[in-house]
């Protein structure tokens, strides 16, 4: 079998992939999409648990008591804007415009940091208003769901900062579009999860508390 190995760079694979693969697609990108598909399962479980226990809390505070929709709306706009800056970073990387790529990557990381900062502020405010993870079913499902999402955003920020550091240290390949695209896929996934969370958790009204 060893003599049948395909030599690197051989075959009609995507331009940014160095190795020929049996599918003709870069394995890294395929693996990233498979990972994101598995993440759908994870967030699906967390979102449906939240939906299952909506309005089932026996004691307050309830969602209407703590949610600050204008504040969370601004956070949503910030995360959405970060998705735009991420694709602008990719467009710059595809044009091999390293300076703009770094600038857009840094902007994306900063917007992500603002979002996480907003989440920390929100959690702190809710805690001060008497909602902890063990207060009621709403607190448990809300903190676990949004907390997991916040951790994903934080990991994304670390990935973005790593890209910037590697680029500054000249450790990215000349065509940096591929690594930027991979990090971008993860970042946009975090954004689409928030699109669902914002609607399901914050905007769709919670039914009245169940009678004790």
């Amino acid at each position: 079998m060893a003599d049948l190995a395909i030599t690197p760079g051989h075959g009609a694979v995507e331009a940014h992939d160095e190795h020929a693969t049996t599918t003709g697609l870069p394995n890294t990108k395929l693996a990233m999409w498979m990972f994101l598909a598995s993440e759908c399962m994870l967030f699906g479980a967390l979102i449906s648990t939240y939906v299952l226990y909506r309005g089932a809390s026996q004691t307050g505070p309830y969602p209407d008591d703590v949610f600050d929709i204008p504040f969370t709306s601004v956070s949503s706009f910030v995360l959405l804007a970060s998705s735009l800056t991420m694709v602008l970073a990719l467009a710059a990387a595809q044009k091999r415009d390293v300076v703009r790529m770094r600038l857009w990557l840094l902007t994306t990381a900063l917007l992500g940091l603002s979002f996480v900062g907003g989440q920390v502020y929100e959690f702190t405010t809710f805690y001060d208003e008497g909602l902890s993870i063990s207060t009621n079913l709403f607190g448990t499902t809300f903190y676990v769901l949004t907390g997991f999402h916040g951790v994903h955003v934080t990991v994304g920020i670390l990935m973005l900062m790593s890209l910037v550091s590697f680029s500054t240290a000249d450790r990215l390949p000349d065509d940096a579009a591929f690594p930027v695209e991979m990090v971008g896929l993860y970042w946009h996934f975090v954004d689409i999860v928030w699109i669902v969370i914002f609607t399901v958790v914050y905007l769709i009204p919670t039914p009245s508390p169940a009678p004790v």
Partner: protein, 119 residues
Amino acid sequence: MSEIESRFQEELGTRDMADPGEARAPHREHPSAKEYIRIGVILAVLTALEVATYYVDVGGALVPTLIGLSVVKFALVVMWFMHLKFDSPTYARYFLMGLAGATTLYLVVLISFGVFKVG
């Protein structure tokens, strides 16, 4: 495709696993920065509409409207920003498999727990 590559694929039977012609078909160019900005503006407008439903009473249309808006936003990000509209359909299949699997599984769970029961 070189001879050695063909032999390799025959040996592994990969021709049956994926359609090389389809996977290797040249994908469309990714959008330009201008197009990205246009999609970004559309997403911002849709988000503004979502937020507006919090202040404007739309009655029974609230939940369908919100779900519809978030589905459109979701699709725009996946198709344009994540390039599923432009890349090989194999990526879309992998992702949709996970997405459809999760949606079906959790909808069945929620229905079986009576979450969508009216009254």
